[in-house]
């Protein structure tokens, strides 16, 4: 070590050094470098942003069910406010809830623990990642309160609507929206690099690639997908920002630009992005399914190769979002084929999880219920993607409530059911206390029933012809028949029930954090490394004796052993 002490991560250059480093108050409590704290910061920020996203959903669903009425806590909703609400609902839920919680919170918390490292390899870059993310969150929230209101051009931000304030009427809102998304991307770039380098270089001695827990693989593959797809969108974002602020015409046909170009740049990122959030969620489900059915994960390598294959394929399906954008029908055929192909590996992955359950001694703990709920709900989402992927059917279904229902049966399982799976499973490790199982089960059943009642009717609405971006259906008599109106109201009421059940979770979460029964180091009797250190792990995770790995993470119910689990770090 011959570099002077001004390098990025110098403090961490030597495994033991940082223990002696004097930390200031800010370093210790406000912006720490410990991966576990950064993970928790991401988690809490994501949960806070979910309140915004959920509130918007509440407001626009109330408007749809009872058009023009006074919405409690919101008041009367104008068409512009409606558009801003749906736009920011989608943007926030994907970029400020699903991404930070699934990838950043769990990735930060779990990766070093699960690979047996004392921290991320670049702890300060890690802290920087959170700081940039925090700024991006502040910018997106601020964009809601500027003159003209928040941006209302949908989360896909198609130009010319998004590029010209003469159309969107929110010059500041639309630019701040774009800047916030771009900042968020930078944060995840920094974070993703850290995850991958940590998983590659900082693994415990003895840990072969087949000994790495599936969720670590999934988060790393997701980070690679994100990094490989985000570049072109960044290029597009720069051009769109110039269109907005400097009046260039990259996407404006009046100036010789091409609005469809944005759609390509956006969906080249946008489709892989759905796998970016999907894979970490399936990784958590894999861990929970194995631990709580006391069985080895079925088809470890197959799951892994499936994930990689899906990731590669996900770069060749993007135009299925543009079937009615005037693309060449021959191209539409190709994209139909790739889209239908991609549903095969995903279905296969779900079946491998079900095969893991087969013959196991299943324990219906709260995390296990969530994992099963994920498989059930996500299958509905995956199956309904197939008719959308067939270009002939999609011409009619595009931009209808059928699409809304489809992607909520994918995104809700991912962003919420997946998160609850992981959170209820790793809560004891994160906070050193157990969550209440009864409250957990009440929350599970309330949520899972309500969410199906919320989104299943939307398939019907979509097939009946409801378009996804209409503010008030009473102007369309044939679309506001009593039947259609009533199932819309049923969906909104289900949303209210869904939201109400989240209070059970919030209470359980914060109550258990401080008052729950103290958790032992390994309450689920699991084999992976994070359960072989204290709950919660101290700074540096494993103390003086960082682990060595002797076997895979899923050695459950091994014949001839008295315990039904076999920690990875236990010498043979």
């Amino acid at each position: 070590m011959n570099a002077p002490a001004h390098g990025h991560d110098h403090v961490h250059d030597d495994g033991g050094h940082h223990h002696h480093h004097e930390m200031t108050f800010v370093e210790k409590y406000i912006f720490p470098t410990d991966h576990k704290y950064i993970g928790k910061q991401y988690l809490l920020t994501g949960m806070l942003m979910a309140v915004f996203g959920g509130f918007f959903a509440y407001a626009f669903r109330m408007q749809l069910a009872w058009p023009g009425s006074d919405i409690p806590l919101f008041g009367h909703m104008s068409p512009a406010e409606y558009n801003a609400a749906v736009t920011n609902h989608g943007t926030i839920m994907i970029f400020w809830v699903a991404m930070p919680v699934l990838i950043a919170a769990f990735g930060n918390f779990l990766i070093p623990l699960m690979v047996g490292a004392d921290d991320m390899v670049f702890p300060r870059l890690n802290r920087l990642s959170y700081q940039i993310f925090l700024v991006s969150a502040i910018v997106i929230v601020a964009s809601l309160f500027v003159p003209g209101g928040g941006f209302g051009g949908a989360w896909t931000a198609y130009p010319p609507l998004s590029g010209d304030s003469a159309y969107n009427l929110t010059p500041l809102g639309s630019s701040l929206w774009l800047v916030a998304v771009a900042l968020e991307f930078v944060a995840f770039l920094v974070g993703g690099i850290n995850f991958i380098v940590t998983a590659m270089n900082a693994r415990a001695p003895g840990m072969k690639w087949t000994d790495v827990p599936m969720v670590v693989w999934m988060i790393c593959i997701a980070s690679i997908l994100f990094m490989a797809s985000v570049g072109p969108l960044m290029a597009g974002a720069v051009m769109l920002l110039f269109d907005q602020t400097l009046h260039t015409g990259f996407f404006d046909p009046r100036q010789g630009g091409d609005p469809i170009l944005w759609q390509h740049l956006f969906w080249f990122f946008g489709h892989p992005e759905v796998y970016v959030v999907l894979l970490p969620a399936t990784g958590m489900v894999a861990e929970v399914v194995a631990v709580h059915s006391r069985k080895k994960l079925f088809g470890y390598k197959t799951i892994l190769f499936t994930a990689v294959g899906t990731g590669v394929l996900s770069f060749f399906v993007w135009a299925h979002h543009q079937f009615i954008a005037g693309i060449d029908p021959r191209m539409a055929n190709i994209f139909t084929i790739t889209t239908v192909l991609i549903s095969i590996p995903i279905a296969e992955m779900m079946f491998l999880y079900i095969a893991t359950l087969y013959g196991g001694s299943i324990r219906f703990t709260t995390p296990m219920l969530w994992a099963l709920g994920f498989i059930f709900a996500f299958l509905i989402g995956g199956v309904t993607g197939i008719p959308l992927g067939a270009s002939g059917a999609d011409i009619y279904l595009h931009d209808s409530y059928f699409v809304i229902a489809h992607f909520h049966f994918t995104f809700f399982p991912i962003a919420f059911i997946g998160t609850f799976t992981g959170l209820t499973h790793w809560f004891p490790k994160m906070f050193g206390r157990m969550m209440n199982e009864t409250l957990g089960k009440i929350h599970f059943w309330g949520t899972i029933i309500a969410v199906h009642c919320l989104f299943l009717p939307m398939f019907v609405l979509g097939l009946a012809g409801h378009h996804r971006r209409i503010y008030d259906y009473t102007n369309f008599p044939e679309l506001s028949t009593p039947f259609l109106t009533n199932i819309g109201i049923f969906a909104t009421v289900s949303l209210l029930v869904l939201l109400a059940f989240q209070f059970v979770f919030v209470f359980n979460f914060f109550y258990s954090m401080f008052k729950g029964p103290v958790a032992e180091a390994n309450p689920w009797k699991a084999g992976s490394l994070e359960w072989q250190c204290p709950s919660p792990p101290p700074h540096g995770n494993f103390g003086e004796h960082l682990p060595t790995v002797y076997r895979g993470p899923y050695e459950y119910s091994v014949p001839g052993r008295d315990k039904d689990y076999w920690p990875q770090s236990e010498p043979a």
Binding site: D118, I193, N194, A228
Partner: protein, 195 residues
Amino acid sequence: MVSGGAFSGGGVRRRPVLPNGVLAILLFIGVEAMLFAGFFSAFTIVKANFAPGMWPPPGQPRFPAEATAVTTLILLVSGVLLWWSGRRFDTEPASARGLLAASATLGATFIGIQGVEWARLIGEGLTLEDNPYGGLFYVIVGAHAAHAVPALIALIVMWVRMQRGYLDAVSFTVARAFWYFVVLVWPVLYWRVYL
């Protein structure tokens, strides 16, 4: 514990695949390559939308293809010199330092000439906002400059550290990798945009 330089963190208890910093910069370069791929495909698609003979749009200045061929060459030579400097870093520090200085000087020359060309095109009336022809030119070449300038600064910092005798191999590799990226993306840019 493996340690080596400012970019390499702790906790590495096995033979690293590559030093942490090198792995990180390679991932970062991958992202940057995709950024430029996005720009180039945007350029290609927009250009294809114009009727034959309308690109460059009438009345707009042409990009200086011949002069830029020379600057392209300068940049490539700078890359070769840097590669050479890296090879000699361990064995002949003095000549490594000289080669690094020469490489950085050529890099600075490239940036300077491009800056002058840029100013000349502004003078000739190529604008950012009138049509995507000028707009894409400024955005893409500007994006390249936004990488070249920090990369050049990194080279200069490396030279200073080398001079003072505390440059470590990993930091040098990281800085070199980034400059190679700047060098190698330019010929593609030249081919897509200028020709």
